[in-house]
């Protein structure tokens, strides 16, 4: 007799798993994740940046990791997300998502024999061709067989939501569709139906209160203080250091020689007949900065802010971390490595310049949490504070959770605050996708899908009614 407890696997009927080979698409600013529901990791993770090459006749798009890091002369690197955290460039977004899905998951359909060029010359009559075209269009749609679950940010506009279902239904021909907010899914990935989800991504930090699997819209908070902000802070640090620290991306370096710490780099550089665009360089620099964030940047873990009292002195006494640039320049970073991410928690500590003004106080993460909690009914606040789910790639900054825990306990000392941060990197980065994978593979979810028939009956506005 199997007595159910927390460690025994639930019976088949209990966890209601019933996979219908649905596809889960989780677009983010840095990467776009896609995979089959029921799996634990997205199979297809491709950058949300794309390369665009304008020629006289048309514009070409390049997707995928390999394409966008290729230093072609006139390759512009762009992102389909707008500055407000809502998809801006829908056409390219559609293409990139389709690439993400078909590249690794469904595979591209074989071209119809009438078009693959093998039958050229045997063209008999044009009429037959004409008739087939409609049928062909139907067949070519990439998601004929798979229901699709797409994630959206909590602040998505109604218009954008309708756009999602239009793309899914009309461009991809999916039999069923659903749209769910990333916050809810991240909570599901941690096994919570209620909680506050702190998602620190690349472009935006969002705080989403979720109650019984539904986002409390009034409490959704977002701010631009996220991964890209930290990158900018690092750029500031590099610029402000006494001899300016050079930031040379990998593609420029042909070979490097070892130099002493702090000494000028001695490297041979590549030359290009048509130098890559600025946007390309920026994107490549971002990769170096990502590496820097992963290996050097540390969040001051508290207590108190980094600028408080003797904290800086204490930080100076901790051993530094070395970092080597692609061109061989290297240095050990001491207390300044704490400075890069301090702005996330303390707006006054952010490094500023003319182009990047001081962030507002209410954009910092503790203030966002406070605002989110304040907009929730008083009865639910302790429940939500007991389930604070931390997700997003930027939360992997060293000691981020310690600091966040300190800050939250500082604001709410009388409640039992609990931070839930999955230990594994994949779960932290792709929490929303994993939650979607769980949701879409549930048998009880079958009745929630918006079917093609319903879409045809009610139009795109059905998404507002059903996905709430």
């Amino acid at each position: 007799m199997n007595i159910p407890n927390s460690s025994t696997a639930p019976a088949a009927g209990e966890y209601a798993g019933d996979e219908v080979s649905a596809i889960v698409l989780d677009p983010g600013y840095w990467t776009t994740r896609a995979g089959f529901a029921g799996e634990d990791v997205p199979k297809s993770v491709c950058p949300s940046f794309y390369g665009q090459r304008d020629t006289e006749s048309d514009t070409q798009h390049y997707f995928g990791e390999n394409a966008i890091h290729n230093p072609l002369g006139d390759l512009d690197i762009k992102n389909y997300w707008g500055s407000d955290g809502i998809v801006e460039d829908w056409d390219t977004a559609t293409k990139l998502w389709e690439y993400a899905i078909t590249n690794r998951l469904t595979g591209t359909k074989a071209t119809d024999p009438t078009r693959n060029g093998l039958n050229d010359g045997t063209n008999t009559n044009g009429d037959a061709m004409e008739v087939d075209i409609d049928a062909l269009d139907n067949q070519e749609k990439p998601l004929e067989e798979s229901p699709l679950l797409v994630t959206e940010p909590g602040w998505n506009s109604a218009k954008a939501r309708e756009k999602y279902i239009e793309i899914a239904m009309e461009d991809w021909g999916t039999p069923a569709f659903f749209l769910q907010k990333t916050g809810v899914l991240a909570a599901f990935a941690s096994g919570k139906a209620s909680g506050i989800i702190i998602d620190v991504g690349a472009s935006h930090t969002s705080v989403t209160p979720v109650l019984d699997g539904m986002v409390l819209r009034k409490g959704v908070q977002k701010s631009p203080l996220a991964g890209n902000f930290v990158s900018n802070q690092i750029r500031h640090i590099f610029k402000q250091s006494a001899p300016e620290i050079p930031l040379t991306p990998h593609y420029l370096v042909k070979s490097k020689t070892q130099v002493d710490a702090g000494a000028a780099a001695q490297a041979t550089y590549k030359t290009f007949t048509t130098p890559p665009t600025d946007s390309f360089r920026l994107n490549e620099e971002e990769r170096v900065l990502t590496e820097f964030k992963e290996s050097v940047v540390e969040v001051w873990p508290g207590p108190g802010r980094f600028s408080n009292g003797t904290n800086e002195e204490i930080a100076k006494n901790t051993p530094g971390r070395p970092f080597e640039m692609p061109d061989g320049w290297n240095q050990v970073f001491g207390a300044e490595r704490f400075r890069a991410a301090e702005g996330l928690f303390d707006a006054s500590a952010a490094l500023t310049s003319e182009s990047s003004p001081r962030p507002k106080d209410d954009q910092t993460i503790p203030k966002l949490v406070q605002a989110a909690v304040l907009s929730v009914d008083a009865d639910q606040r302790p429940l939500l504070l007991g389930n604070i789910v931390v997700t997003g790639g930027s939360t992997l900054l060293y000691k981020f959770n310690e600091r966040l825990n300190y800050e939250i306990n500082n604001i709410y000392p009388s409640t039992r605050n609990k931070l839930i941060a999955p230990g594994s990197v994949v779960e932290r980065k792709y929490a929303a996708w994993i939650g979607g994978s769980i949701l879409a593979s549930l048998g009880s979810f079958h009745q929630l899908w918006i079917s093609k028939k319903e879409y045809e009956e009610h139009g795109a506005s059905i998404v507002e009614k059903r996905c709430r």
């Binding site: 219908v20 109650l211 009914d377 009388s414 009880s444 079958h446 079917s451 028939k453």
Partner: protein, 611 residues
Amino acid sequence: MATGRDVRDMLGLPMGGEAPKAAVQKRPKPAGGTRKIQGVAREVAALYGERPPPVAVYEESKSYRAKRQNTGPAKKWEQQPFRNPVRSDGLILRHWKRKHTTAPAVQPSEDATMQDGENTEPYIDTCSDYAKYDIKVDLPTFTDDEYDAYLRSDDWSREETDYLIQMVGDYAYRWAIVWDRYDFQPSLAHETLENTNGDTDQALATMPFAPSKKRSVEDLKARFYDISAKLMKQRIPEVQMDAEQYSTYEMLTKFDPVMERNRKMLASALMNRSMDEVKEEEFLLTELQRINMAANRLDAEREELRARLDAPQHNPAVSAGLQAFTSSQALQALFQQLFQQDRSKKRASGGGTGPGRLSLSANDMVHTPGSAQAQLSAANRRQSMASQAVAQTPVKHLSPRQEERFNVSTHDRLTSGVTFGSDKLLKMRQAKSNVQTQKIGAALAELGIPDVIPIPTSKVGGTFEMLVTKLGKLLDVRKVREKEEGEVRVLQNMKDGTKEEKMDTETKEEPEDENDDNPNYGEDDADAAGEDEDDDDAEGEEEDGDEDQDTNGDGDGDGDVVPDDLDAEGEDESSVQPSRATSQGATTAGHKRSASVFSQGSEERSKRIRK
């Protein structure tokens, strides 16, 4: 051997039906004995013997897994299209299922015709496993008439009320979410209607149901509960409601939005306390806990003390009842009397810490019939009546004759452990110095007393002690005599030679001061000195002084064993010294004194021995 048959016979049970049953039972038994025990090694099973232990502990799963049954080729799975019966749109999804071999045969004719146009697989499953998750919430419904009659509100339009009920249904009574999503926009019909009047904004502001109104959760709840309650009352009159319905109704009518709001304000105030306040509260709580614990402990202690102090006095009624039970009142009276005596004796001796080993106790009365009850009550009250228990302890008194007969002795202080009477005798033989011991041994041998005294009863011991005491005295006297003789000899010698009168006086004093150091003295003297190390100088003088007197009546001192010198023993040294002065003259008195001195010396010796 008594068989079951005999027993049955004795108990008068029927015998007829049992015989076949026994036969039936017999059969499986041997089978059980020889049956192979599962899950236990053969060697271990052999150790069990004929019968396996009553509770055999072994793991069922210890045996090897059964060999997998090969049931032919691998089962085929297929992507089975299915329809969820809950869905109205007939969405067909596919999931992996075991391939049906027989089921499609039933369906195809029907499905084939249906699905013909789509040309898909003929069989579509209906998966209703998850239909149970399709839950619809109960909502109050009302007609227009009902609304007009009962549910009108100045604050709420019909439209908004409908919107509210729809929202509650959509979000399944999750009020926090209902409130979060509540965004009522008056329909366009209203707006256009108002538009004709002129400025829209102004019109909206003057509208009876201004949309700018921000409803709180309490407002929403109040409206909804009000509607529910009113409708409920309409459907079921209050008198007809059963308990459950009425409680629901009561809950609905008693909802007070103001109170709810205040409660939430307090809750949020509680949450928004500062760190200091929280710490203070924690501190106070721990303090409170500490105080409570201390108070509890104090209460318990007081309770215990009170129980002791207020313990019910020995109930005369009980003792009366006890008397009624006893066969003889005289016996009871006797017991009381003895008990009183014992108590007074105890008080006198100053013991009183507990009942003596050989004294009477309340339990001695157990043997009187019917007093078991009394004992029981005594046991119950044992703790609270500790003081009374002492008072109650009765002591049986034996006459001296009986004591002697039963060899009963009383002791002021009992040494722990067991001692033998012979040990005591042996101890008495030993003096502090070896020489003295030898002397005692020689004297005893002289008297013809064997080394080992047979049957060393206490009486024998007592007599022996007396003997040894006297021996000690004898030895002392002998020693003194020798000393005196030696002195006399010295004086004689001095007299013989040329001498002066002064010298005479000097020598008279000399032995008094330097009797220990004088090398002229015999060995015995030195021994005596060693023996008397502990004694004061005054005592030494005293002895010397006595010796002077005793030179005359030497023989008397030896032979004179005073039987009642026990009295003298009790005397202190201080009393001896003044008496000595008076006894200088009278010889009879001096005689007596000498005896007392001897006894004193012996007492000291005996003390030493005891040490």
